[in-house]
Symmetry: C2
Amino acid sequence: MNNEDNPPKKKYGVTIMDVARASGVSYATVSRVLSGYEFVRESTRHRVLEAVENLGYVANLQARSLAGGRTQIIGLLVPNLDNGYVGTVIRGIDQELERANYDLMLYTSHRHPDSESFYVNAIANGLTEGLLLIAPLVPATYLNALRERNFPYVLIDQVDTTENGSVVEATNWQGAYEATRYLSQLGHTRIAFITGALAVRNAVDRLLGYKAALTDCNLRVREELIVEGDYQQQTGYETTKRLLQRVSPLPTAIFAANDLTAFGAMDAAREYGLSIPNDISIIGFDDIPQASLVYPKLTTVRQPLEQMGQVAVKLLLARIEDQNSPPQRVTLATQLVVRDSCGPYQTERESA
Amino acid sequence: MNNEDNPPKKKYGVTIMDVARASGVSYATVSRVLSGYEFVRESTRHRVLEAVENLGYVANLQARSLAGGRTQIIGLLVPNLDNGYVGTVIRGIDQELERANYDLMLYTSHRHPDSESFYVNAIANGLTEGLLLIAPLVPATYLNALRERNFPYVLIDQVDTTENGSVVEATNWQGAYEATRYLSQLGHTRIAFITGALAVRNAVDRLLGYKAALTDCNLRVREELIVEGDYQQQTGYETTKRLLQRVSPLPTAIFAANDLTAFGAMDAAREYGLSIPNDISIIGFDDIPQASLVYPKLTTVRQPLEQMGQVAVKLLLARIEDQNSPPQRVTLATQLVVRDSCGPYQTERESA
DNA sequence: GCTGGTTTTGCAAACGTTTACAAAAAATGT
DNA sequence: ACATTTTTTGTAAACGTTTGCAAAACCAGC
C-alpha cells in the first residue's frame, strides 16, 4: 500500500535522536531533560521540550529500561477477577499507581499453573520493578524465588511466612470478634461458623476471633457448629446445606468467613425454607460490592479493600525506591457494616 | 549485606552470553535456538537448551523487543473492574492469551483521563503489540491515533465507527427482541424499557430490538414507558423509581438494558412495595456473574462474555501476525436465560 | 584579558537481544 | 582427494535509551 513511496521507513517512531536534531542539542542532553536532570540550561530545556511536543515524542520504554532506567511497571498477581473483591482492591492500586505514573501488568494465577517458580522467575526477570500479590494461595514457592533475587514485593491479605516482604492486611481477628459479638448481642446463642481454607492464615484468625468472642460472651464453642469451607460460594452453599440437615436444634445465626460463602449460605438457608433474617441471621466478611446487592442486603465486616490496594502500592514503591528499606506490615481496621441480613433472636417456634 | 564478597556483580541476571559460554557456542546461536530457528545442529540445540535449563535463563524482554523481536504482550483497556462483566471477559482473554504465550498489560480508563490521545499514544509506543478495548465509551479519540500508526486493535462490545479495527460483539438487537417477546408471551402488555446511554451503539440496538418485538407482538410502543439510563445500577434505581411514580397503571414488566440496571430496578420496585416477580417482572441483559446471585435470580439475556474475550484475542493475534489482514466483525449469539425474576402476567389487582 | 571554578554539554560505552552477512564445517559428487 | 553445494556457526551492527567522563562554555575575580 504505502510501501511504495518510502520503502526504507521502519517503525513509525520518533526517537530521542529526532528530538536532538530538531532542538540542536545532543541526544544525551535530551535524555537529561527528559529524566529531569538538574544541570541543564533553562533555555535548552525549553527548546528540547518544545521539540518533544512538536514531534509527539514518547520515550521507548524497552530501551530506557535496558539502559538501566525504570520501566515504571509493576506486576500484579491475582487469583481471579469474577467477584468484586479483587476488582475493588485494584481500584485502590490503580489510583496510587496513577499518582506515581506507573503501569500495571496483570497476571492471573491460573495461568502458567504448572511451573510456578519459573513463572515468577519470568515476572521478576521481566520488566516489572515490583510485584503485588493479592491473596495468593500457596505463596511459599513464589516467595523464596523473589527473596533470593531481592525482588520487591508486597502481599495483600495474606501473611508472608518468610517474613521478608511487606504485607497489607486487615484486622481479621478483631473483625470476626465484632461480628460474633454483634450476633450475640442480638440474642443469638447458637451461632455457626463457616471457615475459609484453614491453610490460609487469615481464615485461622477469623476463626480465632469468632471463638474468642463466643467465650467472652459466655457462649460455649460447639465444634459441631463449625465447618470448614474455602471462601467459595459453592462450598458455602454445600456446607450450609449439610449443616442444616445435621444439626438440631438449628443454629439461629451463621457467620460466614467471607461474603461469597455467605451468599452460598443464604441460598442454602432459603432452599431449606428459612427466611432471612427472620428464621436465621447471616453475616459475612469482606464487604465486596455484591454484598449490598443481594437480597436481603448482607450485613458484613468491611475490609477497606480499596485502601489496602493503595497502601500496598505505597509500600511497594517505597521498597523499589530503597531496596534496603525493611519490609513492613500494615494492618488496617475492619468495620462492621450492618444491613438487613441479621435480626434479633426470635423465640423458638419449632422450625419445620 | 552481600555486597562485600562480590562487589562487581550487577543485576542478578543470566544473559544470553552466559548461556553461550556455558554451552560453548556463540550468543547468536543461542539466540537462534531460543527463537526456534531451523538450521541448528541437533546436538548444539541440545547443549544450549541444557545450559538454559541449568542456568535458569529467562530472556530479557526489553532487549528482545528493542532488537526487533516480540514482546508477547498485549494491552487491555477496560472501563472498570468492579462488576463481574469485565472480569468474565478477561477470563476468556486470559485463556486464549495463555495458549499463545502472551502477557497482559492492564489499563483502566479512568486513569490518564485528561490526555487520552497521548495516553493511547504511549500504549502504542510501548511494549504492547496490540490493544484490546472493552466497551470504551468515547473511542473516537483513541481509534484515530491507533489507526494512524496502523496499530492492531480489537473492540469488544462496541462498534468501531472508523470501521478500521476488528470488533467482537453480541446480537444485541436479537437479544433484546427475544427478551421482549418472552415477556409478551408471559402475558405482559405494559413492558417498560430502561435503555443504556444512547450514545453507545449497542444501547440503541437493544432499544430497537425491544421496539421491534413489541410491534411484532402487536403491542403499542409507548414512549412513556421508555426511559434513558446509562447502564449504571444507581441510575437504574433512580429511573425506575421515577417511572413507577409517574406511570399509571404501572408497567407489569421492566426490561433493563443491562443487569446492573436491572439490579437497580429490583431495588426500586421492592422499595415501592412490589414483589418480584409476582407484582412485576424484571429482565436484564448480559448475564454477569451476579445475575444468578441476586434474589430472586435474574432472568436475563446472556452475552457469551468469556467467549467474546477469546475471540477478541484470536482476532487481535491474527492482526498482529499479519498487519494487513482485514479487520473483521464477529457477532456472537445471545441467549435467553430464564431464572426467577419474571412471572406470568397476573390479573390486575389494583396495586397500592 | 587571564585564571580558576562552576555549570552545561557531548562523546562513547554500556544494556541484552535479533538478524544480515560472511565464514567455517560438513556433506556430496566426482 | 578435490571442488561444489549445503548446512551450521560466528562476527558485527543495529535497536533507543542512560550515564560516566571529559571537554566546552560560562562566570567571577583579579
